[in-house]
Every structure is written in C-alpha cells, then in structure tokens.
Amino acid sequence: MRNKKETRYCYSERERDAAVKSIGDAEVTRFKGLGEISPSEFGQFIGDDIRLVDVNVKPVKTIPETLEFYMGKNTPERREYIMENLI
C-alpha cells in the first residue's frame, strides 16, 4: 500500500483495510514474489520494519506428529479438521 509519501507493507487483508483507512488516498498492490519489488525498494522492505516471525521448533518430539497430521495419509481426518476450522 503506498501513496506519494509513504509505503506500508500489510500482511493481511485486515491490516490492509486499516492502512487504507488511515492514509486514505492510496494505491494498493500485491506482492506475491520478489518480482514485484523493485531493486531500490528491496532494502527498505527487508529493513528494520520487516515482519519476521521467530519459529520455535521445541519440543522437537511433536514435529513429526504435526507434519504427519498436515501432510500424512490421514485424509479423512484432515478433511474434517479443515471443514471445521475453515476461515
């Protein structure tokens, strides 16, 4: 999201809507891959404001279980889970 003065990176539709409201007259575009970022902008994008999420892999023991649930052969169970938690 950007206008002449400011560029904001939004990470969800809700953030985008809030940003549009707060700076008003702005243009919205979508970054799906690095191709949509111009070289000069890249520094800014990965600058101090970049949203990084620390990923905690502990306890390691549960990871195979988690992966198995999301990518294993338990299709009916997973389908149920998706149906129930659909956003």
């Binding site: 243009e27 919205v28 575009t29 990871i63 997973r78």
Partner: protein, 668 residues
C-alpha cells in the same frame, strides 16, 4: 515467538481455506470457479459483438485475477472448448487428439449469444472490490441456467477435490422445468466425446460412471474406434492399446489414427485373431473402457459441501425464479419512473405550464411556478413531484415542445402501462414465467445441443476373466523363488491378473498377484489360486508343534479374509508347522519322541473329528507328549504327502512337503 505447531495451523488453514473457497471449487450459484467467473465478466465488459484477441482478454482479466497469464489463457481455452459460453476464432486445439491451442496472441474469442442471454445482468449483480480495490468484480453471476452441470468441473483443493461430469444443456433445462412444476427428473451426464456410458452407479453425482469407446466391429479383421470414451484423447487411447499389445494382452498388427474432425482409429488385428475375440480385451486392458469416480463438491453458503445433481438443479430452479423476479421488479421500477416522467412531460406541454416561467427572474421562482402549475393535475401524477423532476422538465428542448405529438405520447404511455400490467401478471405467476423462459431457451437451442453419449447398461469386463491363463507358474525348490519366469517345476497355469495364496515354511501366508519372480523361501507349504470360490472350498488342516512344550496341535480353517500383500500366519506365535493338507478325508499319524516308559510312539487321528474354525483361531492339542513328526495319509492308505507333480491339472492346488527337520531331533 511462535511455535511451529501454531504457525503450521494458521498458515495451513489460511491456505486451505483460500484454495477451497477461492480457487479450485466451483460455486453452486453460477457453477464457476473464480478464474472462470473473472474471464466471463471480462469478456462481458469487453463485449462489442466482435472477436477479441484472447491475449487481450487475458490481460484485461488480470485486473481481477492476480495470477499467471498462462493459467488464465489455459482456463479460457478450456472454457471455450465446452462450446457453451465462448465463441471461438482460430485454433483452439482439438479435444479429441489433445492438441493444444495456438498461442493466445493468435486466437480470438467473444461471448456467445447463450452467455449474454443467460449469465449477466449488472443491475442485479452484487459486486465486490477486486484484489487491489481498483475495480469491482461480481461475487457470483446471475446465471439462469445450471452452469455447473452443463460445464462439468474438476478441481483439487486441499483435503478435498471435486469432479463433476458435463451434462446435456437441454436435458438440464427440462429437469429444471420439471423441478419448477414439482416433479423430479433424473439427469445423467453427456460427454462432448460421445461414446457409451453406464450410469447405473451414478448415484446422483457422487458415484461412478462407466464409459466406453464406440467400436465399429463390422469388419472381421479390424476394429475401428469411432467415439472416444470421456477423459481419453486419441493419443492416450492409442498409447494404452500399444501398451496392452506389448504386454501380450492383445494381439494386433498395427494401429492407424485417421482422426481429424471425427475420431477414427483403426486397430488392425494379427493373423488368426478376429474382431469378436478382441473387443472384450480392448475394454479390459485399454482405455476403451474406463470407470470414472465422481464427487460433486461445491461452495454453498460460503462453505464446501457435497451435493447431488438433483439438489443443484433444485437450487438452480430456485435461483432462476429469484433472478427473474429481480429483473421484473427492476424493469417495473424503470418503467414506473419513465411513466412518471412522461406524464409530467405531457401535463407540462399540453397545459402550457412552460408559459408560466416567462416572467420569473430567479431560478427558485421558475421551479415554484412549475410546481404550482402542476398542482391541479396531482391526481394524474401518481407520486410526489420533486425538484429533480422539474429540472428534467425545464431541460426539454423548445423544439420538442413545438413538435409535441399528443397522440403519440399517449400511445407510448399506454404501451408502458400495458407492459407494467404484464409485469405484474408475470410477478403474480412467477413460476409459470420461469417455465416459459426455460421453454423458450429449449426451443432456441434444442438443435445446437443434441445428446452425444448413448446411455446403456454395461457389465464391466473383468480384467481377470478376460485374461488368458497362458503362463506357467513355477517354483524353484532349491532357491525358494516362485513366479512365471522362474526355472523350476511348473505348478499350474496362471494369468498376470490371478491372485495366489502362498503359505511359507514357517506358516506365514499372504495373498498377492502373480509376478514374474518373487522369493517365498524354500520349503513352501502351499500355493494355490486365491479367488473367492477356491478359498471358500478349501479347508486347510495344519499340524504344528508348540516350540515351548513340543506338544502337537491340529488346526483346521478356511482362509477367506485377507488384505492383498499383507502377511499373516496360519499358526500361533512360537509354533512350527509340521504338515499341511487340504484333503478333508486325510488320516493323520503323529510320531512321538521316544522316552522312558513310552511304548506307543505313534498315534492315528481322523481329521474330520476336528472342527473347521477361522484363520485366526488357535489349534487343538492332540496330545501332551512331545512330537517328533507327523504325516497325512488319505483314507485308502496312500500317503498324501504330495511332492510337486510334474503336470498338475488346471486349477489344482499343490501342497508341498516340508523337509524333515534335522536339527534337534538327533539330540537325546
């Protein structure tokens, strides 16, 4: 800090929800996936009756669909090739041969008349902002026909997928009429490729369809394929025939493909082979017959839902009524506005109200004068006169006032009133109106959409039955290999589709397909066909030794339930089989280990005395003495410890002796 579990959960659900609701699964209302809806909406916006370059349409479509241009182009070509909503110009590929379309810069398209007639009406469409907020796109199109079933659909989302067959448009419309009239009409798929199909397991859109090619068998020495089975192309069909021929399941001399506008694949048969013998093999071993599993998953009320064909038709009929009602109401409103304007105009001109403004100096004065002039005629004007109405009146060019034709104006107003009355009548009998609408469509398009696939009752050609048992199953006793490419003594004749039950030396057994070579260990106890009938008629009698006590046990069972290739054991844990037979009348002799004060060292048993139980049952103890060996003899006294016969008769089971155990026996 975010744990990987939570991260996985949110990202996975976001992605799954997106793919399901916004990518791969069609919406029940208009039967379209987002990309298709955006393509049709784009074409509608671009529509000027002329052909447009597909590349241009794709570019325009990207304003709504922020994804690859190639994927939009492919989606457009696929949609156009359904020959319903898009007129094509240029090479859009060939659905028979699977040839791809020319590049999008060469081919052109426009909306078809049917699409314009049945899919759009911006005034009653709900729009939402596009991804970047610069445009508005329809949430769903106001489709008046069951698009989903007419087009068919295939989509793989996350955790779920959809597969909808295409149906015949005219039959769908007829089913909708029936539905509106309170009847139900079952509709079955119809494929653009024609051919034959059996819909007995269709299960209203959530079962299976069996499709077959149309074979021309009028010639003894060649089979000509005239219609493809749905989901095959000539290329894939020919590949499947060549593959079957290579594996020796079909004997052909050659294949020639003459397909252009119509499918024509000639299969020339080998010397000594005739059409009548080949047809079943073609169905069994090639793509000439296919079973397609269907499942009708759609987005309904913003959620994925499995529905039936009848439900989709019912839903479509309900929506049609709503859309027609909305359209009529819209027209009614527009006509009322028009009539109001015309009435005002008539009064304004006929009664020369315009003359009253001549001496007014302020614009407010002008408006007031007109309002005052109209006042006496309020009973003719149905609603309140607004300032905007007056502004409209004041904008009438003087020329029109001088040339005003009272009679013509009256006639036109009468026409509007007539139409309004008609609309009220339609609104009062909206279902009849909807039926009439569908009838008009049917009359107009009946000839354009004839049924192509012939519905028949088919019995599926069973691969196992069509296969010839022309291979010899052999067992090499010295190496322990079994299969039709093993050097060893021949057991019986098999086909590659046969399943066999093998019981190994230690009592482990499994059912598997016959293969060229597999290791089953030396000392195999049993090998035979594993079809239902054989297994139901075979009683296994096994004598085994408990390894802890050394006591002999007997167990009689049938093996009827199994999972292919899964390992089982015919004896309980820590037991060793001594002998196995399938002869129900055999007599058993058990030799005991010699010991102090033991005079009788052998004992005879009649195996018929023991009950036949399940394969998982334990055994019955024969004696509380350590067993040395056991043997079976048939009633007439002959020993039935069969070795491998040289030439067993067809279908015969073979039991094999196990080598006498040498270890342990010699020790005191």
């Amino acid at each position: 800090m975010s744990s990987i579990k939570n991260l996985y959960e949110t990202n996975y659900l976001e992605y799954a929800s997106y793919v399901i609701k916004d990518r791969a699964i069609p919406h029940i209302d208009d039967g379209l996936k987002p990309v298709q809806r955006r393509i049709l909406h784009t074409l509608f916006e671009m529509d000027d009756g002329k052909f447009h370059k597909v590349a241009n349409a794709v570019g325009q479509c990207m304003r709504y669909h922020p994804h690859g241009d190639a994927s939009i182009g492919d989606a457009l070509v696929t949609l156009a090739n359904k020959d319903l909503f898009i007129d094509k110009q240029g090479n859009f590929g060939n659905i028979f041969t699977g040839d791809p379309a020319s590049a999008v810069r060469y081919i052109e398209c426009r909306l078809s008349v049917l699409a314009k007639e049945t899919l759009f009406n911006p005034q009653i469409t709900q729009f939402e902002p596009s991804y970047d907020g610069r445009n508005r796109e329809p949430v769903v199109l106001p489709a008046k026909i069951p698009v989903l079933l007419a087009l068919g659909a295939e989509g793989i989302a996350v955790g779920m997928a959809t597969k909808v067959m295409p149906h015949n448009l005219i039959e769908l419309l007829e089913a909708q009429i029936a539905c509106l009239q309170g009847d139900q009409l079952l509709v079955f798929p119809d494929f653009p490729t024609g051919g034959f199909a059996d819909f007995s397991d269709y299960n209203d859109g959530n079962g299976k369809v069996l499709v077959r090619a149309r074979l021309d068998t009028s010639d003894e020495k060649r089979v000509v394929i005239r219609d493809l089975p749905f989901s095959s192309t000539t290329e894939s069909l020919i590949a499947s025939i060549e593959d079957a021929a290579r594996k020796g399941k079909l004997k052909i001399a050659g294949i020639a493909d003459y397909t252009a506008e119509r499918v024509e694949i000639e299969v020339r048969l080998a010397r000594g082979v005739h059409t009548s013998e080949t047809v079943d093999a073609l169905y069994a071993f090639t793509e000439c017959e296919q079973s397609i599993s269907v499942n009708l998953l759609v987005i309904k009320e913003n959620k994925p839902a499995i529905v039936t064909v009848s439900e989709v038709i019912r839903h479509g009929a309900g929506r049609l009524v709503e859309i027609l009602r909305a359209e009529l109401k819209l027209e009614e409103q527009q006509l009322k506005d028009k009539l109001h304007a015309r009435t005002l105009e008539q009064i304004f001109i006929e009664n020369r109200i315009y003359k009253r403004i001549e001496d007014k100096t302020s614009s407010q004065g002008v408006v007031d004068a007109v309002l005052k002039g109209l006042e006496p005629y309020q009973h003719e004007i149905k609603r309140e006169v607004t300032t905007e109405d007056v502004e409209t009146l004041l904008k009438i060019p003087i020329r029109r006032i001088s040339l005003y034709d009272i009679n013509r104006a009256k006639r036109e107003m009468q026409e509007i009133r007539d139409r309004l009355a008609e609309i009220r009548k339609h609104l009062g009998a909206i279902v009849d109106y909807a039926v009439a609408f569908l009838r008009r469509l049917i009359d107009k398009y009946r000839d354009a959409f004839p049924r192509r696939t012939e519905q028949v009752q088919l019995t599926k050609v069973d691969v196992r039955e069509a296969a010839q048992r022309n291979l010899k199953l052999r067992y090499d006793r010295d190496t322990g290999y079994l299969g039709y490419e093993v050097n060893g003594s021949s057991l019986f004749d098999v086909s590659p589709y046969d399943r066999i039950l093998v019981i190994r030396k230690g009592g482990a057994y499994s059912v598997s397909n016959v293969v060229d070579k597999t290791f089953v260990d030396k000392g195999m106890l049993y090998c035979g066909f594993a079809d239902k009938e054989t297994l139901a008629n075979t009683v296994f009698t096994v004598v085994f030794r408990d390894d802890e006590t050394g006591y002999p046990y007997i167990k009689r069972c049938r093996i009827e339930q199994f999972i292919l290739n899964k390992g089982y054991s015919i004896v309980p844990e820590k037991c060793t089989p001594l002998k196995l037979t399938t002869d129900p009348y055999a007599e058993l002799t058990v030799d005991y280990k010699p010991g102090p004060r033991i005079r009788v060292t052998d004992e005879k048993f009649t195996i018929g005395d023991y009950l036949v139980k399940g394969a998982k049952s334990g055994g019955v103890r024969l004696a509380a003495r350590e067993v040395k060996s056991a043997k079976f003899a048939s009633l007439d006294g002959d020993q039935v410890e069969l070795g491998i016969k040289d030439k067993p008769e067809e279908g015969e089971q073979v039991e094999l002796t196990i080598e006498p155990e040498k270890g342990g026996e010699g020790k005191p």
